[in-house]
């Protein structure tokens, strides 16, 4: 039962990997968000680079397809002056017989300093982190860029950053997360982040087929009705609905889903007048969100992407300095 210790903090409590927001102390989260603030303004400068990761090799290890997350990690690492190597491994590598840990060992032999890992299996980054610990490679770090349904901590952090940017105090907010919570690592990360930051009312809104059992144990209030769930919310976070889940056993059709849970101006009227609308992207317009809302003045979906680079720069620089 050796995997029970929180594996992302080292003996002195510093962040050595970023695997999940669960169990991450509030001061560590605040430190990351504060560190991201100056990075957010770097993009407005003539010279966008800082030398914090000069000479470090960052490997983007993507076992699952991603464009946005991989690109923003790449930009973040490059702005920190790191050497960035992108590996899109997909499903084919396992069919060639190389295991996940073989891949990691090989890249360690190439003097990797930091792995940014995305994997379809929940817990894959934890496996890599515990393997590195067993190999006594405490100099090599892991940042989870999304594992199965489990966690997407940098997305959770950029969501927190966005919320803090527009709403200031987490302790006065009502936040609704709408959609496929069952399969969503984004939802799990944001829930852990918000509850750690003492947000008093975190809600999930979804049909029962898209909610995991005992989800309320994560500290959320469960709503099945959109109008009721959005009432007086400060923040509305829409989740992406994967196309393979739109028709079948979980939902009858994308159309019926939109009817009940698609965010329209009409439904958004239940939230506070200054409520912001977020989405981790990529959006399915007309499925989980109406274009008028996505492109409307309460949408902060594009700023989220920009903040994402700053937050990832903060995470990479903090971990590399520990």
């Amino acid at each position: 039962m050796g995997a029970s210790r929180n594996p992302q903090l080292n003996a002195s409590g510093d962040l050595t990997h970023l695997l999940t927001l669960e169990g991450l102390p509030a001061d560590v989260i605040t430190h990351i968000l504060d560190t991201a603030e100056p990075f957010a303004s770097i993009s407005e400068r003539e010279v966008k680079k800082v030398p914090l990761l000069r000479g470090k090799a960052v490997f983007n290890l993507f076992f699952e397809n991603s464009t946005r997350t991989r690109t923003t990690f790449e930009i973040a690492a490059k702005r920190l002056s790191a050497d960035v190597i992108n590996l899109n491994i997909g499903a084919s590598s396992t069919s060639k017989g190389e295991t996940l840990l073989d891949t990691v060992d090989n890249l360690c032999a190439m003097d990797a300093d930091l792995f940014v890992v995305r994997h379809a299996q929940s817990g894959a980054p934890h496996l890599i982190a515990s393997h590195l610990a067993a190999m006594k490679r405490s100099d090599v770090h892991v940042v989870n860029a999304g594992d199965g349904r489990h966690s997407h901590p940098t997305q959770g952090l950029l969501d927190l950053y966005t919320i803090r940017h527009y709403k200031r105090d987490f302790r006065e907010l009502t936040v609704a997360i709408v959609g496929d919570v069952l399969h969503s690592r984004v939802a799990r990360s944001l829930i852990h982040g918000l509850t750690t930051m003492q947000t008093p009312d975190v809600r999930v809104i979804a049909p029962r087929t898209l909610l995991p059992s005992r989800v309320e144990a994560l500290g959320v209030h469960v709503h099945n009705d959109m109008h009721e769930g959005l009432r007086d919310c400060d923040v509305v976070v829409m989740l992406r609905l994967q196309s393979e889940r739109m028709k079948g056993a979980l939902l009858p059709s994308a159309g019926e889903y939109f009817k009940h849970y698609g965010l329209t101006a009409d439904k958004l009227a239940a939230a506070k007048p200054d409520a912001i609308v977020m989405h981790p992207g990529p959006m399915n317009r007309g499925v989980e969100i109406d274009s008028a809302v996505a492109d409307g003045d309460r949408s902060v979906i594009l700023p989220q992407v920009t903040f994402g680079i700053a937050v990832r720069m903060a995470v990479l620089s903090i971990i590399a300095s520990n």
Partner: protein, 433 residues
């Protein structure tokens, strides 16, 4: 060979015997307990002082991985593990490659086990061809080859009509049927108990209803056909309650639980520990407590090892991709003793769950110290502790969630039909209170 076991506390659940006495063994059978036979001259004397002398243990589920899965384990390695665990009789499930669905495979397995001669092996035949749940196997042929019961191992029977027919057919000829209650559809794709832990970790889940629906189906068919069924590996409090009720109604059902599930629950998955990936999944603490109590009150008849040696390649992958299972033969007695101590269960009763009860389920003579019985026995220090480590295990499967745990129950000697098949060199130096 005449062997004399001296000074041990002899506990024999088959005859409710519990006293310090010497055991005399000649020609592979028990000659007497207490008083030496006339003209007795021992060729070997075993000092069992401060030890328990018990009948050899009987395990209802030990995967030996032959034929076909020799990269995980072999008969040599796993029968050595059985001997090291004090297990002298074991039933092996049919989930080999190919499955035990034709007599030749069973005969070969029996033959190989006889040659190695470290434990009596009782194969469970496949209930359906290839365990696919589509067509019956030749049960009578398989029984003649040595199968003691029929099961679909961990493969569910999605077709209820097929299950009904299988029970009718097996019942016609008096063949025993063992079933693991798990609904094929509700369990599909799941790797962990449907509860808080799976929700937190984002692991595809198996609800308790996967077990209870299957139990309801089985109970209904047992009621209708009158064919007895042994239920393998109960995992939930609700499942236990249903079995308790069905037994009270008089349905001919027996049940077992894996020793792992008496101690662990889903929380032990921690941060995705693949060692805790078991089938059925580790459920909640409430379920674990119900299982522990159910063995005490007899709702669950027997404790088994659910021995499933898995190689490192099968475990050094993310939790969801990890092969379920753990090595168990050498931990069966320690984990049972740990349960018994924690639940204030007398040794006699604890040993019955490992000897007389499983023997009755397999349908073999219970191991005992009655004069003339086959001399299968084990000698252990019930309060001698040891630490589970890869090096301490004889099994080729070194993977278990108990690695690093301190457990009671050191087995010093195992005798199979009067032959010493396991002995520990450190017996003389072992520290005992």
């Amino acid at each position: 060979m005449r062997i004399e076991i001296n000074g041990g506390r002899v506990i024999d659940p088959a005859q409710s015997l519990d006293r310090v006495a010497s055991v005399y063994i000649a020609d592979g059978v028990i000659s007497s307990v207490g008083t030496a036979p006339s003209g007795w001259r021992a060729e070997r004397v075993i000092d069992a002082s401060q030890c328990i002398v018990a009948p050899g243990l009987v395990d209802l589920a030990a995967r030996l991985r032959e034929p076909g899965l020799e990269h995980k384990a072999t008969l040599e390695s796993e029968l050595a593990a059985a001997a090291a665990g004090g297990v002298t009789s074991l039933a092996c499930p049919p989930d080999t490659d190919p499955p035990l669905d034709e007599p030749g495979l069973v005969e070969m397995l029996k033959h190989r086990a006889r040659v190695i001669s470290k434990a009596h092996v009782y194969p469970i035949g496949a209930l359906t061809l290839g365990l696919r749940g589509e067509a019956l196997t030749e049960m009578s042929e398989l029984a003649e080859a040595g199968c003691v019961a029929f099961s679909n191992a961990d493969m569910p029977m999605p077709d209820t009509q097929m299950l009904f027919r299988a029970l009718q057919y097996a019942g016609t000829f008096g063949h025993r049927v063992w079933l693991r209650p798990q609904d094929a559809h509700l369990a599909r794709g799941g790797v962990a108990h449907d509860g808080e832990v799976a929700t937190r970790l984002g692991l595809p889940a198996i609800p308790v209803s996967a077990e209870t629906i299957a139990l309801a189906t089985i109970a209904t068919l047992v009621r209708e056909t009158g064919v007895p069924v042994h239920l393998c590996r109960l995992s939930s409090a609700e499942g236990v309650a249903m079995v308790r009720e069905a037994k009270a109604e008089g349905l001919p059902l027996t049940a077992d639980v894996s020793a792992h599930h008496l101690h662990l629950c889903d929380v032990d998955i921690g941060w995705f520990d693949p060692q805790a990936h078991l089938m059925p999944p580790l459920r909640g603490t409430r379920d674990r407590d119900a299982l522990r109590a159910a063995v005490v009150d007899g709702t669950i008849d027997a404790i088994c090892s659910d021995h499933a040696p898995v190689d490192d390649d099968g475990k050094q992958v993310p939790f969801g991709e990890a092969e379920p299972g753990a090595t168990g033969l050498e931990l069966l007695l320690p984990l049972t003793l740990k349960w018994a101590t924690e639940m204030n269960v007398p040794l006699m009763r604890a040993l019955a769950t490992l000897t007389t009860a499983p023997a009755a389920i397999i349908g073999i003579e219970p191991p005992t110290f009655r004069t003339g019985s086959r001399a299968d026995c084990c000698i252990f220090g019930a309060t001698d502790h040891w630490t589970v480590s890869r090096a301490s295990l004889c099994s080729q499967g070194k993977n278990t969630p108990f690695l690093g745990l301190d457990v009671p129950g050191r087995i010093y000697y195992t005798l199979l039909a009067g032959h010493v098949v396991h002995e520990r060199a450190d017996r003389a130096t072992a520290a005992r209170p």
